[in-house]
Subunit: 242 residues, 2 copies
DNA sequence: TATTTTAATATGTACAAACATATAAAACAT
DNA sequence: ATGTTTTATATGTTTGTACATATTAAAATA
């Protein structure tokens, strides 16, 4: 395997280097605490300056994928698999990573008048309708999450999407919108009759409630998502560093 | 107010610059979408090179405190207050930030034989005892979290701590251990009789269960923490960027 | 043999310089 | 008045260079 960088590409060198490093990290040869070649060697091999290489390395260190130590070297983190990118995987990917096959039980799309919270969040006029997406998803044996999602009118998914592709992929490829920032609120709730019915559990059973505010790179609101998770089949994981 | 950098200090210039920028961000003059002086000006004012300044800026951009745009400038993020640092505030600080006064209802310290999970997590011998810390905390009106925390024997808090200072402060100042990485698992549970009794709620009521694995900068395990949060008085928040 | 010193190695810090590119405002032409 | 081109501004990219410092292993010394 010979990784190389295209100096004539319009993609910045440190971005290309970052991608190559990500591939190296995935490689079993380097995974689990193995050391990368040192910076001088690597920069020679990739034919970029040490400064540019360090730009790429720094980003991966921030993300927690790499651990560097003065005088020793740079190794792949043992304690972290995908770091915060976890939160950015699509729901299907998240589940796939845990070896859980996913099924869609219900899918309903409609245009609705926004509630006050939505008017405020999206900063739109009250008469402007927004796209509402309801989904019931889970394992083949039964559903374990019910969620309702609202989108900014400017995105306005056509409603004819197949939703077989992950949502974030549809947004990136078809609408050139990249979800960059997400704020989430997580709490425990007792299922009411409606949610209990959807998730096939008794009313009163504990569910994990997750409310998610999604913004793009310019901090403009994209999506508001509210999900109810069956507590015995879903654990929410968070990783953070400082 | 004149911020300045000490070139004779043994603290790296980009770290000093980072601290100054953090103070600027806190300043009402710059908060909420206001623009910072441009890089060339700032680097002249601080008497450091643009490269060094950008090193500091990059870190804050990565944390989400600053938003930069080519051709425009660098501004303080409007959507983010403290970003991921939120997860690193002590519990008391977290609550203080929400205007909630905190009281300790119970505090119990003991040395116990570690369970299998602890032996594995801390990578110690089964006969090595670990410090167990149980706390019941909450508002003056009543408790809303009960947690049990175990510490690595190498840290071995003397047991004579007053625990009036935040835990992370005790660890940093007295034990020179800096908690750098945290992995958390969050789920919804139904309170059993014990937890229900502690939190003064009916057994069966939903509680937020938070299990937290804490590591230091070298990825060595420090603490394992398990908390039960009364669902109607605590919402867990997460912010993430990519 | 045990201890100390030294050297090799790898990352950390810092600056200077040059050019590229996105954005908004000003100048210009229609 | 409106659309286009230019220009000023600010961040983005990339390289080169020099020296500092933490760590480990090897060499020198007691």
């Amino acid at each position: 395997m010979h990784l190389s960088i295209d100096h004539n590409s319009n993609v910045p060198l440190h971005i290309q280097a970052e991608e190559l490093l990500r591939k190296m990290i995935e490689d079993p040869q380097f995974r689990n605490g193995k050391f990368l070649p040192n910076e001088v060697e690597l920069s020679k091999e990739l034919q970029i300056s040490r400064t540019t290489l360090r730009q790429a390395l720094n980003k991966l260190v921030y993300e927690g994928l790499l651990v560097r130590k003065k005088g020793i070297g740079t190794k792949v983190s043992e304690k972290t698999v995908s770091s915060k990118s976890m939160n950015w995987k699509s729901f299907s990917q998240e589940m796939a990573a845990r070896g859980i096959p996913i099924r869609n039980f219900e899918l309903h799309i409609s245009w609705v008048k926004p509630q006050e919270e939505l008017v405020h969040f999206f900063d739109i006029k009250p008469e402007q309708k927004v796209l509402k997406l309801e989904r019931l998803r889970g394992r083949p044996e039964g559903p374990f999450v019910y969620f309702v999602s609202y989108f900014h009118p400017a995105i306005g998914l056509s409603g004819e999407e197949d939703f077989k592709r992950p949502l974030y992929e549809i947004l990136e490829q078809d609408y050139k919108v990249i979800a960059t920032l997400s704020k989430e609120e997580i709490s425990a709730k007792a299922a009411d009759n409606f949610i209990g019915g959807k998730l096939e559990i008794d009313a009163g059973s504990p569910v994990l409630f997750r409310k998610r505010f999604v913004y793009d790179q310019d901090e403009k609101p994209i999506e508001l998502n509210m999900g109810y998770y069956k507590s015995d089949s879903f654990i929410y994981t968070v990783e953070s560093r400082r």
